[in-house]
Subunit: 270 residues, 2 copies
Amino acid sequence: MRSNLAMSEKTVPLATGLDVRRAARSGALDAPTSGLAPGYVQGNLAILPHDYAEDFLRFCQANPKPCPLIGVSEKGNPAIPALGPDLDIRTDIPRYRVWRDGKLVEEPRDIKSVWRDDLVSFVLGCSFSFEEALLQADVPLRHIALGDGVPMYRTSIQTQRAGRFHGPVVVSMRPLKPADAIRAVQITGRLPSVHGAPIHLGYPEQIGITDLAKPDYGSPLPLEPGELPVFWACGVTPQAAIAAAKLPFAITHAPGYMLVTDLKNAQLAV
Amino acid sequence: MRSNLAMSEKTVPLATGLDVRRAARSGALDAPTSGLAPGYVQGNLAILPHDYAEDFLRFCQANPKPCPLIGVSEKGNPAIPALGPDLDIRTDIPRYRVWRDGKLVEEPRDIKSVWRDDLVSFVLGCSFSFEEALLQADVPLRHIALGDGVPMYRTSIQTQRAGRFHGPVVVSMRPLKPADAIRAVQITGRLPSVHGAPIHLGYPEQIGITDLAKPDYGSPLPLEPGELPVFWACGVTPQAAIAAAKLPFAITHAPGYMLVTDLKNAQLAV
C-alpha cells in the first residue's frame, strides 16, 4: 500500500487530515491512505444502525486492545467534531464497503445514497499510528520495507461478548529482534488508543496459532534467525465480529482506505 | 533472603528507611534488608577514593541501565541528603565490605575506623524496587516465591569504558510467561532509575549466555514450558567493574545488605 505514497504526493499534496478528506470528498483521491498526511491519525470505520450501537459500544469498551474507540457520532449525524470540525463521514473516505445481512454488496466512493437517519458511526484507532512511532524510534518493520501488509491471525483468545458481537481476537504479527521487541513494547504501550502494547510474543501456539506461514489475513512474513514474533491486537477483530453478527445493514471503510483525522499521532501518547 | 522478613519484622518494626538506618546504626539490625521497609528504595553502595570518582561517575553516566545512580556524596562527606536528611553512610548499612587492591579484606558492621577524607559515596538503584512494582501488578516472580536469589550472567555486551572501569554487562534473569513479560517491560520501563526495561528476552545465546543452568552468580532458575527468559541489566555490573579495576581501596555494601533510603518506590516512575 505504501508504494502509492510517492505517486499520490506528486499529484496532490495531501499533507494534513483535512487535505485527504477534501480530496476524498471531491473524488480526486481514489487510493489507499497509507503514507498520506504523515503524522495524522488514521482510523477504521464502522457504521451501524442505532439498534446495534449500544451493543457495539459495549463490545469496544470490553475489548479496548482490538477495538480502541477514538470517535463516535450522534445517531443520524454524519459529523464527528472530535476528529475534525468539518468532517462528513458520508464522503470523506475514498472508498467504503456496504454490507447487507453480513454480505458485501458494494464498494462505493461515497455513501450519500445509502445514508439513513438511524446510523451511528464508530472510528477506531489503527496500527498505522504505532508503526509511525516505531519507525521514528528506528525499530525496523520489515513488511513496510518490503511494501507488504502484515500477516494477521485468528487466535484462541476470545473477545468479551456484548450482545450479537463476539468472536476471536485477531492479531497482527511483526518479527522483531529481542531488543527491538522490548523497545516496541515500551513505545506502543504508551499508545493505548491505537492497540497499545503487544498482547503476546514468542510462542504462537500459546494463542492458538499453529502455523505462522499460514496467516488468516494478509501475507506471510517469515521470521529471520534470532527474531521473535510479536503480536498486537488488530482492528480486523471488530470487522470480523460485525461480519459474524450478520447485521441487516452496515458500512465500513474498504481495507486500506481509512478515515484520516485532524488528530496527530504525537498527541496519542499517554 | 526474604525469609528473614517475618523474623525481622517481629523483633523490630522497621517500617521506614529511617527505621532501618537507625537499627543498622545502633547495631540492632544485622540481617539482609530485603523485605524491610516495604515501599522504600534500597540502593547498592560503592565508596571510592576521590582519584577514581570522576571516572566512576562517567562510567555510570555512560552505562545507565546497569549503573543507575540515585545519589552521590561530596568528597569526604558521609552525608547524602537527597537520600535521607540524617543519613550517615559510615554506619547506616548493616554490613559492609572493605576492599584493598581488589581483594576483600573485611566485612565490618560500620566503616568509621576506615573512613577517609578523600572518599566519595555512590548509591545505585537496585532491582528490589522494580520487583516490588512487578509483584504489585501481579506479575509472578518465581525466585521470590521460592525464597531464592535470581540467576545472574556475564554477557557478551560490553559496558562503555571510562578510565579504569570497564567489563561485561551482567544481567539478572527472571522467567516469565509472554503476556507477563510484556507487562514487565511496560512496568520496569517506567523505572529507569532502578535498571529500567529489560535489555533482552528470548534468546540467551544472542547475548553470550550459553547455558542458563550455569549462572555466573546466584542460583539457576529453570524455565517452565512456555516461559521466556527475560534479562535485566544488573547492579553486579559496577561491582565487577570495581573489582576488576583493582583499586587500592574501596568499600561496598555486603551482598543483600543494602542502604535503605527515604525515597519511595512509587516516586520513581517516569
